[in-house]
């Protein structure tokens, strides 16, 4: 395997704080199963016929038929990069460009088809604020569930509960089922929980919107300290405000390829040019 030397990255990462994400020729094939192809009938009877019919029509370059006859999409195509301490990387690109897949691969949920992805540091993905939320659980129970999900010890759970109750100002609602909460209250609770543990590497997919105005300003403050405490942040977003505010490096993705990597301004300019070229 040909590994490109990356001097810039090795300079940026001091030895004593090795938090980093590095990818070398990373590729990920995503098998697509429509409802029909998941069934046994399809596998045993329909597919052999369909394969013959399908062989002529391939859309684009990224969709292909895998060995087992399933359709695979190359969701990440030969990416190599180094992300070091202090870098806040924004991922931009069309829907389906591979942003979420790349985040999930960094989180270790999807394992690469080929190439290597190395992460050093505690990785925390934050894709769904409501993780582990059961409508009949009370606020207090939800805190417990999330605490355990975050890997906290029992004595830390009590502290977490105190911290969250204070931040959320939910008062007596803490012992009510979460299904009785308003959206604002839910967001507040979920947000407070999600930001209660600080990881080395933080992965975001889009960002948080709802909640009342007072909460939003309070949340901004909490979000800011939360992000600042993480050594590396990777965020997928369509919002230029967020990219401008939080990032110091951007990746432009297209059809699973990393087509531009640079400062926020450079890459946004490149992105705009591409958008303009497409709309012509």
């Amino acid at each position: 395997m040909n590994i490109k030397p990356d001097l810039k990255a090795s300079e940026a990462v001091p030895l004593r704080s090795p938090t980093r994400i590095s990818a070398r020729e990373l590729a990920l094939d995503f098998p697509i199963y429509d409802v029909a192809s998941r069934s046994l009938k399809q596998l045993l009877m329909v597919r052999p016929i369909a394969n013959v019919l399908r062989s002529a029509s391939h859309v684009g370059g990224s969709i292909a038929t895998g060995a087992g006859g399933t359709v695979v999409v190359r969701a990440i195509d030969n990416m190599s990069f180094e992300i070091g301490r202090g870098e806040r990387v924004g991922l931009i690109g069309h829907n389906g460009a591979g942003k979420t897949t790349l985040l999930r691969t960094m989180a270790g949920i999807y394992e690469p088809t080929s190439g290597v992805l190395e992460t050093v540091g505690h990785v925390m993905p934050l894709f769904n604020l409501m993780e582990g939320m059961m409508p009949d659980a009370t606020g207090r129970e939800f805190i417990r569930i999330r605490g355990v999900l975050l890997g906290l010890e029992p004595h830390q759970l009590d502290k977490l509960a105190e911290d969250v109750v204070e931040f959320c100002e939910l008062g007596s609602y803490m012992d009510m089922p979460v299904r009785t909460y308003s959206t604002g209250m839910l967001v507040r609770l979920a947000f407070a929980l999600s930001t209660s543990v600080s990881p080395d590497i933080l992965l975001f997919d889009e960002l948080i919107g709802a909640g009342d105005a007072r909460f939003v300003s309070k949340a901004q403050e909490r979000l800011k300290t939360f992000i600042e405490r993480s050594s590396i942040v990777v965020v997928a977003s369509h919002s230029r405000a967020i990219l401008d505010q939080w990032c110091n490096r951007l990746f432009l993705l297209e059809h699973g390829k990393l087509i531009a990597d640079g400062s926020v301004q450079e890459v946004l300019k490149e992105y705009d040019q591409r958008l303009a070229a497409e709309s012509k």
Binding site: R38, S39, L40, I109, E111, G132, A137
Partner: protein, 272 residues
């Protein structure tokens, strides 16, 4: 410091074993999840999980009276037998058919954070152990009423229970993996159990059968897996054949599950 290197040529079997091991050590997670499942299911009901005991009791008594009459057996002999039979059967079928959706119903959690996948299977196991602990109470009441008092034979029920649960877990795991890929499997499993119920000595005893049907039923591994736990509770020792078959299915079943898990572990998130 947490270091994860993904994509280098790794031994998939080793990764699968590691998944199972780290899954087991995350006991705080699956005990809480399993406990919450039970809690949420019976929330706002007065009896709570004792509804499971109550419905089992109703089923046992109704089936018990009808069958004892049909078979001309005294209730004293028959009721404890059918009671423990139905309890073990219901545990086995529920854990396996719920195992089918172990990964599917946790899709959101699986796609959210990297965790050992085995955790979601253990969640199903734990949930069923909690419910099982509530239903087995019925047996002890029935056994007491009909004069089957605890004796040293009960000690055999401990290895019997371990074997029985181990067998249930591998089967739930295999069904769970296959169901995630092929969504027909949960339906096949439910239907298969309806037929297997009559091919497994639960409402009748093996000795009531004769001829080719007896041979067929004696080959049913479910019979032996149930018998190693059931017989000691009814104060008889399981036969050497019962032990051998139950141990054999546990060993081969786990090997099969391990190989299947090693092959599919990476792909399960894609199938969700």
């Amino acid at each position: 410091m947490n270091v994860a290197i993904l994509g280098i040529a790794e031994n998939q079997l080793e990764r699968a074993v590691k998944d199972i091991w780290t899954g087991l050590s995350a006991w705080r997670l699956w005990t809480l999840f399993g406990y919450n499942d039970v809690k949420m299911k019976y929330r706002r009901s007065t009896l709570g999980p004792f509804w499971a005991s109550l419905s089992m009791a109703a089923q046992v008594f109704v089936t018990g009276f009808v069958m004892a009459y049909l078979f001309h057996i005294t209730l004293q002999r028959y009721l404890p037998y059918i009671c423990i039979g139905l309890i073990t059967w219901s545990f086995l079928t529920t854990i396996i058919s719920e195992g089918a959706t172990a990964f599917i119903s946790s899709a959101e959690l699986i796609l959210q954070v990297k965790r050992p996948l085995f955790v979601y299977l253990l969640q199903v196991v734990w949930r069923n152990l909690i419910v099982g602990a509530h239903t087995i109470v019925i047996f002890f009441v029935v056994a007491f009423l009909f004069g089957l008092f605890p004796s040293p034979t009960y000690l055999l029920a401990i290895p019997g229970l371990v074997l029985f649960v181990l067998n249930c877990v591998w089967a739930a795991g295999v069904v769970g993996i296959l169901s995630t890929r092929f969504r027909d499997i949960p339906l096949i499993v439910t239907n298969a159990f309806m037929a297997l119920f009559w091919l497994t000595p639960v409402v009748y005893e093996l000795d009531q059968m004769s001829g080719p049907i007896r041979t067929l039923i004696a080959y049913n591994p479910l019979y032996h897996v149930i018998e190693v736990f059931r017989a000691p509770l009814l104060l008889t020792a399981p036969s050497a054949e019962n032990w051998m078959v139950a141990i054999g299915t546990a060993v081969f079943g786990w090997l099969f599950f391990l190989l299947l898990f090693a092959r599919t572990r990476k792909r399960i998130p894609f199938w969700l």
